[in-house]
Point group: C2
Chain length 413, copies 2
């Protein structure tokens, strides 16, 4: 078990590059000195590896800091403009494509509504490719500087064999009626850029982990509360994927065997009790024809105004949600739970205390005591950011691997 195959002496260098690059990326300008301290590498190796990264243009010097009477420390950072990333959000109502620099600053975005043709997969692919072309053209960005395109989709994503250039990526989604859509192959027909696809909720969770309330945690669960509910599990600092990357399908966890019918066809799912869709439907008093978001806002307003049935409904939702979070705590033993998603952010301020109490009541004492439960910091627009972290993660993990043409440019840029 767990044999991790052969390792050549060259992998060491990749590892060192990756470590240093990650530290610089996340912990912002640092000197070689500090880098040595926190990475455990010797000063010699740090100098050596940083030299390489400087030559590749993946790191640049940025000012210096005096050092108590000695030679000043030179600060280093990853130059944000060195490369670009694309994040795509295939949402319920629109396809959003955004272009970022390495620092994940949004440089351009393109939105296309999905009203007419629904989620026909050909149409979605076309919109993604159009949007991609648009953001590149609008900013005059050379496609060779794009590290990759990350796509967040609804449903379950089968990653296929790695190393096949994304060709094996297949998407299954009951909600938008995609059955084994070969998204990888379809997109590959329209672009040469490296492709990364994952569930949209998972990419949102990833964003929350990197830049939101999850920062710094190595074991965490981001509980996403939107129209439905889902979760993104992080263990040892990395996405927990399971055998076929579908781990974390929390919305269809049973909280009441034999209970309410869920849109997945089963009964008693969490989502049938606390998803925004379920809540609005159960309340039944939202203005006819209003959007789900407006409906939930109306429910919240009613509860704030003291209407008993709204108050009760939300209290019940908080209990179910907290109980289901207790399951997450018992099963995954995270150090932090982050509640995100648009509905989570909308209801969170009101429900958080009740959710915490329910989690305490339903979880085992010991793991509950190790876990904090907090609200997320990012809105649903962070799905594109999260999607862009997919190629970024690959980049950092590989120690700064660049597409051939970009690498040729080296430090001359």
């Amino acid at each position: 078990m767990a044999e991790r195959g052969k390792q050549t002496v060259r992998d060491l260098r990749r590892g060192s590059r990756s470590t240093l690059l990650q530290r610089l990326y996340f912990e912002g300008p640092l000197s070689r000195q500090e880098l040595g301290q926190i990475s455990g590498l010797s000063a010699g190796s740090v100098s050596n590896v940083i030299g390489e990264l400087l030559a590749d243009g993946l790191v640049e010097e940025c000012g210096s800091v005096e050092s108590d009477g000695g030679r000043p420390r030179i600060l280093l950072q990853v130059p944000p403009e060195r490369a670009h990333l694309v994040g795509v959000d295939v949402g319920e109502t629109q396809v959003r494509v955004a272009l970022f620099d390495l620092g994940l600053t949004e440089l351009a975005a393109s939105d296309h509504p999905l009203s007419d043709c629904g989620h026909d997969s050909d149409h979605v692919v076309e919109l993604i490719l159009t949007g991609l072309a648009e953001v590149l053209h609008a900013t005059g960005t050379d496609p060779d500087t794009v590290l990759g395109v990350g796509v967040g989709v609804p449903g379950i994503v089968e990653q296929g064999d790695p190393g096949t250039d994304g060709l094996g990526i297949v998407v299954h989604s009951q909600t938008v009626d995609w059955d084994a859509v070969p998204l990888g192959r379809m997109l590959r027909a329209g672009t040469d850029l490296p492709l990364y696809v994952d569930n949209g909720a998972k990419t949102l969770g990833q964003a929350e982990m990197w830049f939101g309330a999850g920062r710094g945690a190595r074991h965490a669960v981001v509980a996403l509360f939107g129209s439905g509910v889902g979760a993104c599990v992080i263990a040892e600092g990395a996405r927990f994927r399971g055998a076929t990357s579908s781990a974390g399908e929390w919305g269809h966890t049973k909280v009441h065997v034999g209970g309410r019918l869920c849109r997945c066809g089963s009964r008693g799912c969490l989502e049938a009790y606390v998803g925004a869709e379920a809540l609005v439907e159960r309340w039944g008093r939202a203005p006819a024809g209003s959007s789900e978001k407006a409906g939930l806002a109306a429910l919240l307003a009613a509860a704030e105004a003291g209407e008993q049935d709204a108050v009760d409904l939300l209290a019940e939702a908080a209990e179910y949600f907290g109980a289901a979070i207790a399951d997450l705590i018992n099963l995954f033993n995270p150090e932090r739970i982050v509640i995100g998603g648009w509905a989570g952010l909308m209801l969170g301020p009101r429900l958080l205390p009740a959710i915490r109490d329910a989690a305490t009541a339903y979880a085992l004492r010991f793991p509950r005591a190790q876990t904090s439960i907090d609200l997320g910091l990012l809105g649903p627009d962070a799905v594109t950011v999260g999607a862009a972290t997919l190629p970024l993660w690959h980049f950092l993990q590989s120690g700064g691997e660049l597409p051939a043409r970009l690498s040729a440019a080296a430090a001359t840029g």
Copy 2:
């Protein structure tokens, strides 16, 4: 995230040793040739590393195989008698200590009932140390040849800082009323051997993964059904521990929020519906004063005889169990689910089809299709075997690290 710290060129060798040792251990006699094929190492490296392992006595030659007209292949194996392991099961009714050789053949065992003094921790520690001395004495085993002592206990085990020689190990158990018992320190006072402690259900799961129905799976969940219920989660071939090693507390997952009162104090836990204790109590017709095991056997017999309330109770248990397995499938996305534990093995043949059906009904289609659900192969006595895998795992993982004195003996043994 996921920086894995520095790696020196020496770690490569440790990795190679570990890989080869593991392959030889699990895939049984192999030639250098085959070893090179499956490990990906070059023939030169294999020869080199195996030479080292031979000199350390961790590997021995055992016969040869003709090779179609060429030089015959020399087969290699890990010599079972090279070292010993101790596994301890702190159970509900007794403390069992067993001595194994490297091949996990049981050489001696010692049982001490726990009837009188209950689970007083001092008493348990005393029994463990006595049993340890007994098995060593009975077989005339030199303590220096023992790689370590693995202990399976009820409750949650806090591992403490690694590298502190097990001193930080603390056990919390609501069922036997242990609150922060410093088992590591207590045992350390009576022995110098390396100590490893984990939850008993988890060690049973480990045994099932290594030598039972879980063999070969890299992502699996062993669902343990005994007096209560628990789970051992394996991801990427290794125990999924979570932040403080308490992950996998499945028994207190909610299947019915606000439902039956559980012995943990909460309501609606799985264990309140399908644990042997709960089933016997709910049936209410077991002969007074009989053991839990006898009670469950009586319930099963009644159901086989067609008594309606027994049939219904078991059918309901299968549905809850299956639904909770569906949760495991949705959340962990394993490739295999193994149902073990004494109650699981007793009821399994009757309930398995219903459990599978319930899991199918309650889980999402895609991950369910990737998962097989089968019965375990090992009885509860495998807890000691599982406990012994704890030091064994360390041994294999470290590439065959030996205690100082044993290593001095080298291949002379």
